[in-house]
Symmetry: C2
Subunit: 711 residues, 2 copies
């Protein structure tokens, strides 16, 4: 007994040694926190047995050991053979697994199955799959089920092939539209030093099924293709590989001129094609499993094939030919609008790309933003979805909140992803959802993808706030399954991030659920769009009208005058609605049958227009601005009530941020109302609070050092 | 017995819960790691009793509890009254302390005494002092003594009054000469969000006695004095105050024009003086205990009084008058050299400032860099030290390694600080050391100070590498005591950072001890200076000769030609040696009596000059370059041998960095030798390895994205 006591004392000291000073909840652990579960829920695992020793399976074993040791509060051992009550990770072709005749064929190359079985007579929890990657995903799934207090049984396979983060990270360490510190990639210290943070980034991505990362900004420097930078990218690929993550690069279309010494970047010039072939060979020599190139061409000043009177297809196909021998891909962005095109900006991508349907090489996928303008708090789905049946289209969502409050505002994007993906294009009858375009099932494409513009940087909590982490998580879950349910995903994230107490999770999900709609309301209700201040997009700027290109000005989008407000996109206006399927467009021709949320997107409407609510448009607009502020105030109160259940650091940071958000929501509301009143000359609707300052005050606000601006 | 077992099991689970997943040794804890000591050394503390509850004493109590709990591996309680075997923190005027008749008078306002006593009959370890700040410092001292395995008894008081970090941090988050990430200050989120990191920064500083911090770059933006930025600075001051740290600001001399709307910043213009008085009042309204202003004027393009034909004293005294009613200080930098002055750059600060001795107001202190050029790996002490007896002079050291390998190279600066401070100016006979100028004892000044240009940023390990942390630590210890011993300080830091095993500490101190001399050897041996590449100062550029101002070019400093090398600062040259005391200057007039380490600083010497070693100058130079490389290789080997004793993360990072350093030391050596051979036409000395590349290759290296460059 005394020896046992001595042993226990030693164990206690070891545990404290492991602990050191109490660890701050600084958010670094993300949703992979693995804190001990309540005794009733804590897993009791005999041991972990991983059959195989590839780097990916080693990663799975390490993660399971880390996660289960954390969740159970006791170190769980790895064992060479299955132990009763243990966890076994084994491929579907393992004889003992095959004997169970599980439905593994449907799992494909990336899916997994987790189930309680008797394996060669031993009761275990089995994780099986057709590949090491599937086993890694299954291991993370098992941990997620435990963290959320769910039954561990799960069978799942991704519906989308490319699940990618797009980092708008520059080689100087800045991040365009980044609100979470400098670039994760320390280009200066690469390839020598592989920061352990790179591994944790890969773990987080693998845990939500992300399988690729575009390292650099779509506004790319040609230097990223030079030998020193390829060596740096290769060092990152070496870290990411064991987590099933491929590296991709954004390329500058004029690189043959800038770093190749050629006189042209014309895609039909044989010397240009040869340069790209040689450069691509060099890339693959450095990174044998390199994923491919992402290209922003002829958009916002970027070079592209149209500089040489060639089409986007000409440009994409030339690169596709260079990379095809390596089985690489070209992701070609459809986000284009031209200096010299006076037509409605919302129509230009469709006008450019629709005629190219069927003209792209087989290893090209066209990457389309969720809406036709630019990552606004709400946009109708992009008319290209469903309109290019012969062309694989991938979705581009923005996870970083360029237009939704940057780092500070709590805006859960799950509902936004869900809203777009569930939108029914009606292009092949009812059920032709955007999700089915993206997952390839609508038009039978095997090459499918979803990209998310990353919100992560070098900040300790990765994303600038705890709740921004949820948007990274959500992107992964929706990329895995475009039919995912926003509330379910929010609940998973909340349980993993704050603990599995269902009452707490419900309250947090409640705070999240209406948060994006609140941002819509206090910045751009009823289909208004792009009302943000210039350049950095921080705060309101509905009055801005002096920028060089018309479509850079908020007044271009709101078209407010004494009589009314909104952008007429019907036949009497730009007729953008004609870019949608007729069945979808038909109700949009009439304000009465247009959803209120999109009203001013599609129509110029008199201020006196009577809404379904019975209020005039002007009254409704003010009501919506107020609703945004009211919702944020309620979110803040609801969060304050959770103080006893949340650790001090994460509680305080979110509480502070919600206070900032409430202040800024009022600012948005008041500045917007003050401006509209100066345009429409109408009195403030009865009962509405007058703006805190006059319009001149709002116009005078200036934030030259607002973050994330490319400069 | 079973109940005890149950209790122990509960304790184990609690300890593991505290631990969560194993915590990475990412360097965040600095020298305040507080990991459990070996059983024989672990403190056995009954409880901690802190008499008083000011914020500063609360900080002391929190730190003692954190530290002692960590070091002992068991939670140490706070108790309202003294406990046998406990620790008592009580002011010298506490009746029970007074009764002990301890020698507390000599402690002054900031010193402390730690001693085992019987307090009212109870055996305790007492920390006492004449102020809360002294008690805080004493608490940190007690923890340091325990961490280093020393007897706890210590009596200490600082010899220097102002012990300040200077942050060259810009309002956009960049850090001039910063190699550890973005600015610690998240100006964008201030004043709303006070990152917990600010508290840890304050803890680290307080632990080494730093009592002030200049928040922004000496190349200052006037905006830092606007109301929004003063509110942000005030929020930082609110965090730092309880750790005894005052906030200071760098100011732009032309601020009255830029943000005040005045037409002039002439210090003798009454409107300018009135503007500064009002601005200073505004600063103190925001920060009642604000420390003062730091000014870089008429230097490297900064505005200053000489723009209006006024002297530095005119400028400083105008600001001093504005801030005097608040008991604030002006720190006026002597780092000046003029566009239009063709004289030896090393002479210009002395020429400008020496005539102003006695002309500065009582609340002005002149801040002088350690050497007359610019933070080189080695410089003779600045001739102003000892030459301005009527003027308080404070030392400015550079902790960030602009010229000593930036983040990656291991260069322990303790020997550099020590070398400068122990230099004997001979201005008032033997023993007139720089340290005695700085501590005020040589000329009887009460206003004394030492500033260190900070090397910290938002990187997780604060300083870009583990060993860079040692330089921050050293700065604090030398500011507290300019007579400190470099090896002793290195040993303290090593024990606190890696654990108190004396054999391990000796080995680490051994690696550190010769590291700065190695940098001198592989970059600029024998008194060479400023041979770095342009702008960013990364890597060698001895051939650079095309920059606009002569003194920006490395060739200006080396003056190498076919016959010889070095800068003649004797009477036959610039006669800079006449700026030193005659007794100090005399041996410098002759190469034979000039220390070899400073030879080329003071003399232009033939390549064939015979050194004391018996080698020619050329042979000696090559020998020194080689010695630098050899030392780094040995440091690397010595570190590799410590792998079993160092945690994996910190071991790997330093190992990687030493590999980089060895590669870059070779680069420096080879590039320099290749260039000197092109100048002197001499063959490589026998036995020396030829450069790996030809000179053209070295000249072609280009690093436009090297960090820390102001742009």
């Amino acid at each position: 007994m005394m020896r046992m006591l001595h042993w226990l004392m030693t164990l206690i000291l070891a545990a404290f040694a492991l602990a050191g000073p109490a660890r701050a909840e600084d958010g670094y652990d993300l949703w992979l926190r693995y804190r001990p579960l309540p005794a009733a829920q804590a897993p009791r695992v005999g041991a972990i047995t991983v059959k195989g020793d590839s780097p990916m399976l080693q990663a799975a074993a390490t993660e399971l050991q880390r996660g289960l040791s954390g969740l159970s509060g006791t170190r769980v051992a790895l064992a060479p053979t299955a132990v009763a009550g243990g966890i076994v990770v084994a491929g579907a072709r393992d004889p003992a697994v095959t004997a169970l005749k599980l439905p593994t064929a449907a799992l494909g190359e990336e899916g997994y199955l987790v189930r309680a079985v008797r394996l060669s007579g031993i009761p275990v929890t089995l994780v099986t799959a057709n590949s090491d990657r599937g086993l890694l995903y299954g291991s993370f799934a098992l941990l997620r089920r435990l963290q959320t207090g769910s039954d561990v049984a799960e069978t799942s396979a991704p519906k989308v092939r490319l699940r990618l983060l797009n980092h708008w990270d520059n080689l100087d360490g800045s991040v365009e539209r980044g609100y979470a510190g400098q670039s994760l990639w320390d280009w200066w210290m690469l390839p020598d030093f592989a920061d352990p943070r790179y591994t944790d980034y890969a773990r987080a991505n693998a845990s939500i099924g992300i399988n690729g990362t575009v390292l650099n900004n779509v506004n790319a420097s040609a230097d990223s293709l030079t030998a020193p930078y390829l060596a740096k990218a290769a060092a990152l690929a070496d870290v990411f590989r064991r987590y099933g993550i491929k590296v991709y690069l954004s390329v500058r279309f004029s690189a043959p001129v800038e770093i190749g010494g050629l006189k042209t970047a014309d895609p039909l010039d044989p010397a240009v094609a040869a340069w790209w072939r040689a450069k691509t060979d060099e890339v693959y020599a450095a990174i044998p499993d390199f994923g491919g190139f992402l290209v922003k061409a002829n958009s916002e000043g970027q070079p592209g094939p149209r500089d040489y009177q060639r089409s986007h297809a000409d440009g994409a196909n030339m690169l596709a030919a260079a990379i095809a021998p390596h089985k690489g891909l070209i992701m070609w962005r459809a986000f284009v609008y031209a200096d010299d095109n006076p037509d409605d900006r919302a129509k230009q991508a469709y006008a450019d790309f629709k005629p190219l349907d069927g003209k792209f090489a087989a290893n090209v996928i066209v990457q389309v933003k969720n809406g036709a303008i630019d990552f606004q708090p709400r946009e109708p789905f992009h008319p290209l979805f469903g309109a290019m049946p012969q062309t694989p289209l991938m979705m581009e969502f923005q996870i970083t909140k360029e237009y939704l409050g940057m780092a500070t505002h709590l805006a859960w994007l799950g509902p936004m992803f869900e809203e777009t993906l569930r939108s029914d294009t009606l292009q092949k009858g009812k059920g032709s959802t955007v999700a089915r375009v993206v997952d390839g099932s609508l038009h039978g494409h095997a090459l499918t993808g979803m990209a998310g513009v990353a919100n992560v940087g070098r900040d300790r909590d990765w994303a600038g706030s705890t709740f921004n982490q949820a948007n990274w998580f959500a992107f992964g879950r929706f990329a895995w399954n475009p039919a995912a349910d926003s509330d379910t995903v929010a609940g998973e994230w909340a349980a993993m991030t704050f603990g599995p107490d269902p009452a707490l999770v419900d309250k947090i999900v409640g705070i999240m659920a209406g948060s994006r709609e609140a941002v819509v309301d206090y910045t751009s209700p009823l289909g208004l769009t792009h009302q943000m201040a210039t350049g950095h997009h921080y705060g309101p700027g509905p009055w801005v009208s002096d920028l060089k290109r018309p479509e850079w000005n908020p007044v271009y989008y709101a078209r407010a005058d004494r009589q009314g407000i909104g952008f007429d996109r019907t036949a009497s206006g730009s007729n953008a609605i004609a870019q949608y399927a007729p069945a979808f467009a038909r109700p949009l021709a009439d304000p009465a049958t247009t959803p209120a949320r999109d009203l001013l997107w599609f129509h110029h409407v008199p201020w006196t227009h009577r809404m379904a609510s019975g209020r005039t448009l002007w009254e409704e607009l003010v009501t919506r601005y107020n609703a945004g502020v009211t919702t944020v105030a309620a979110m803040r109160r609801d969060w304050a009530a959770l103080q006893p259940q949340i650790d001090a650091d994460r509680f305080a940071k979110t509480a502070t941020f919600l206070a900032v958000q409430e202040r800024e929501a009022r600012w948005w509301r008041d500045a917007s109302i003050a401006y509209w009143m100066s345009v429409n000359g109408l009195p403030l609707p009865a009962g509405a609070a007058p703006p805190a300052h006059d319009l001149a005050w709002y116009k005078a606000q200036s934030y030259p050092r607002a973050p994330g601006h490319p400069g």
